[in-house]
């Protein structure tokens, strides 16, 4: 199994890399990191999961530019159902456009989504949601919202979805899982991580520090289900 982390030196905000740290402890695999200027591993090789996460607004533009030559290969992988886990503002890179005031920044155009920056306003929210019968906990903190015709990843129970007032969060398209939730999503949500491992075909892989992770999850879930402000 091969897992590729795209541009870890730029996608290094908000503790999102905790997801890769946790996955490494759960799942023995060939982990590849592609840096700016390198040819991505997925271009010449098969990969099982591509991970990209939170980055600055300037980095979004650099990464769109860097990935544009590989657009067709990415489309092929997406059409084939390869898993993509995109956290924070990473999914916007794969969308049609990122609207920043009067400026429209073209994305890779692989996902039917349009992002709209709200700078300098920052949207912060805790999140409680649903996914395939399980509860998802997390948070978002961002400078943009989005609109999309794609099915959502999570159903919103509390907190901010794709945009203000939206009842849904993120996108799910074939193997592509995109969410505005950031930070160590996989560490925070042992059930979701279990589902992801199973979906990757790694049913034998066990959750690292499962007892402690579930304890932390349970405490958080109870708080989020209470009267906590989002």
């Amino acid at each position: 199994m091969t897992i590729e982390f795209l541009y870890p030196e730029l996608c290094n905000l908000y503790g999102d890399r905790g997801n890769m740290d946790y996955l490494r402890r759960c799942l023995p695999a060939d982990y590849r990191g592609t840096h700016m200027g390198d040819e991505p591993w997925f271009v010449q090789h098969e990969v099982d999961l591509i991970y990209m996460c939170s980055m600055t607004e300037r980095s979004q533009e650099r990464i769109i530019q860097a990935l544009t030559p590989y657009r067709e290969r990415l489309k092929e992988l997406m059409d084939r159902g390869t898993h993509f886990l995109l956290t924070g503002n990473a999914m916007e890179v794969f969308g049609k456009t990122i609207q920043d005031g009067e400026k429209a920044i073209p994305g890779l155009g692989l996902l039917d989504l349009t992002a709209r920056r709200i700078l300098p306003r920052r949207a912060n929210s805790l999140f409680l949601g649903g996914f395939e019968g399980m509860k998802i906990v997390g948070y978002t903190s961002r400078f943009s919202h989005m609109e999309s015709s794609l099915p959502p990843l999570f159903r919103v129970e509390k907190g901010l979805g794709r945009s203000e007032g939206a009842a849904v969060e993120g996108i799910r398209s074939g193997g592509v899982l995109g969410t505005y939730l950031l930070g160590p999503l996989l560490v925070l949500n042992p059930d979701f991580t279990r589902w992801l491992l199973d979906d990757l075909g790694a049913k034998d892989a066990s959750l690292a520090f499962e007892k402690e992770a579930r304890q932390a999850y349970q405490v958080r879930l109870e708080q989020f289900q209470g009267n906590i402000e989002v």
Binding site: D16, R62, R122, G183
Partner: protein, 454 residues
């Protein structure tokens, strides 16, 4: 004289003195009245001979307090906003305290700690003579997002005559406001400095001029160090004030300025506090103080107690340290400082913001923080406490800390009872700024546990 301004000042002073009589801190509200009654309040108020603004991500409180103390020791009358708010309103309060009701300035200098979001508003209005930009580093994600965003805010400071005091070793801030006059300080390569960034976070991986990966001549934390670009020749600015030798054992540092070298007291041996001290020395020297006067003032000035408190209990050193939570880098730096101290140690993590259970439960910062530094054979026990103790526990396990070294309890006082005191040489209590008063209680509890056990 503008009547609206005078009325606003009279109200501000009344509110200030009224609140002080009631035992209140009066740092924010008096200034709020002043600015609401007269939006241009800060422009009208009479300025001291020297106005120093200190802004940036980390170290601004310590640097501003140090500057105030040093100037006071050097015989200057100083006003400052150390009692509280560092926004426009807090600064309006501090400035009001620097003048008489007739708007006659009563002090020689004003030292203002300025929030980085307000710097573009405040610095021009108070007609800053010096602006210290300590650094632009990763901070609370809710408010400050990422350093590029904060640097963009600071780049809007329109104060062309102000002399900037900048850390040449910190690239996100050292290149800001290129039209302003400037003075750089830095610490030369020291034993133990590497050439690979040692932390999980690095916010300047690429050359600001051409985008190629940067090479480090030395780096001590995050991206703080001296860089060059092999592709386009870009390099970190040269330092006007360069600490060439650090001697923590004798609490001395050697500072080079031009052809001259000076030996000065080192107020604290942590590298981030040395940078703060260098910034203060550079300002004072630019103000015209002699190095002899600066040295005398440094010798008379202890470090602010809120940040670091130390006691000895039956041969065990107990250190209480401020480690700003929700902010990965200062905490990583504190972890690094602790692991480099000799002897068997216990570490108590009481980092969580007290409001965290209510509104701001965001723990991404702990995955930007180098908990791996705590996976050290001399750190024999770690107590994870606070409302997020279970998250700290998982993070510590992921960092490779063995389970048997961990205690995980929400109540820090109950956790302290689990301290294993045998062979312990030091205990480090790490607390957030918001939990300072609780840390005092915790410190007392540690004393009792150690006295009972030893």
């Amino acid at each position: 004289m503008n009547l609206r301004f005078l009325f606003a000042m009279a109200v501000c002073k009344c509110v200030y003195h009224g609140m002080r009589l009631l035992g209140r801190q009066a740092s924010y509200l008096p200034g709020w009245f002043a600015v609401k009654l007269c939006p241009d309040y800060l422009r009208h108020i009479r300025k001291a001979e020297t106005v120093i603004c200190v802004t940036g991500t980390d170290g601004k409180t310590t640097t501003a307090n140090l500057l105030s103390d040093l100037l006071t020791s050097a015989g200057r009358k100083v006003a400052n906003n150390r009692i509280g708010s560092n926004t426009e309103f807090g600064i309006a309060t501090a400035m009001t305290c620097s003048v008489a009701l007739t708007n006659r300035c009563r002090v020689d200098a004003v030292v203002l700690e300025v929030d980085e979001h307000y710097a573009r508003i405040v610095c021009p209005k108070v007609r800053s003579d010096y602006i210290v930009l300590t650094n632009v580093l990763r901070d609370s994600l809710q408010r400050n997002a990422h350093p590029e965003y904060v640097a963009g805010k600071l780049a809007q400071i329109d104060c062309p005559k102000a002399k900037l005091i900048l850390n040449a070793d910190e690239l996100c801030s050292s290149l800001l406001l290129p039209e302003n006059p400037r003075v750089y300080y830095a610490i030369a390569r020291q034993e133990g400095d590497g050439v690979t960034p040692p932390n999980r976070v690095n916010d300047c991986p690429d050359c600001p001029r051409c985008g190629a990966p940067l090479r480090y001549d030395y780096v001590r934390y995050a991206h703080v160090g001296h860089v060059h670009c092999e592709k386009c020749g870009f390099a970190s600015p040269a330092a006007d004030w360069l600490a060439t030798e650090l001697d923590p054992e004798n609490h001395r540092l050697t500072l080079r300025h031009g052809e001259e070298e000076y030996t000065l007291p080192m107020l604290h041996d942590s590298v981030f506090n040395i940078y703060n001290e260098l910034a203060a020395v550079a300002v004072l020297s630019e103000m015209g103080l002699s190095m002899a006067d600066i040295r005398t003032a440094l010798e008379a000035t202890p470090l602010t107690k809120t940040r670091l408190n130390q006691l000895r209990v039956k041969g065990v050193t107990v250190v209480s340290m401020m480690a700003k939570s929700n902010n990965s880098l200062p905490v990583s730096m504190v972890f690094d400082y602790i692991r480099k101290k000799p002897g068997k140690k216990a570490v108590i993590l009481a980092l969580d913001d007290l409001d965290e259970s209510k509104s701001s439960e965001r723990i991404g910062w702990i995955y930007d923080t180098d908990y791996e530094f705590l996976n050290d054979e001399n750190i024999v026990q770690i107590l994870a406490t606070g409302v997020r103790c279970w998250d700290h526990q998982v993070r510590l396990l992921l960092a490779g800390v063995p389970r048997e070294k961990l205690v995980c309890m929400q109540d820090e006082l109950a956790a302290i009872e689990q301290l294993r005191c045998k062979d312990l040489e030091s205990v480090y209590l790490l607390h957030d700024m918001s939990s300072y008063s609780r840390s005092v209680t915790a410190l007392e509890k540690i004393r009792k546990v150690l006295e009972g056990a030893l």
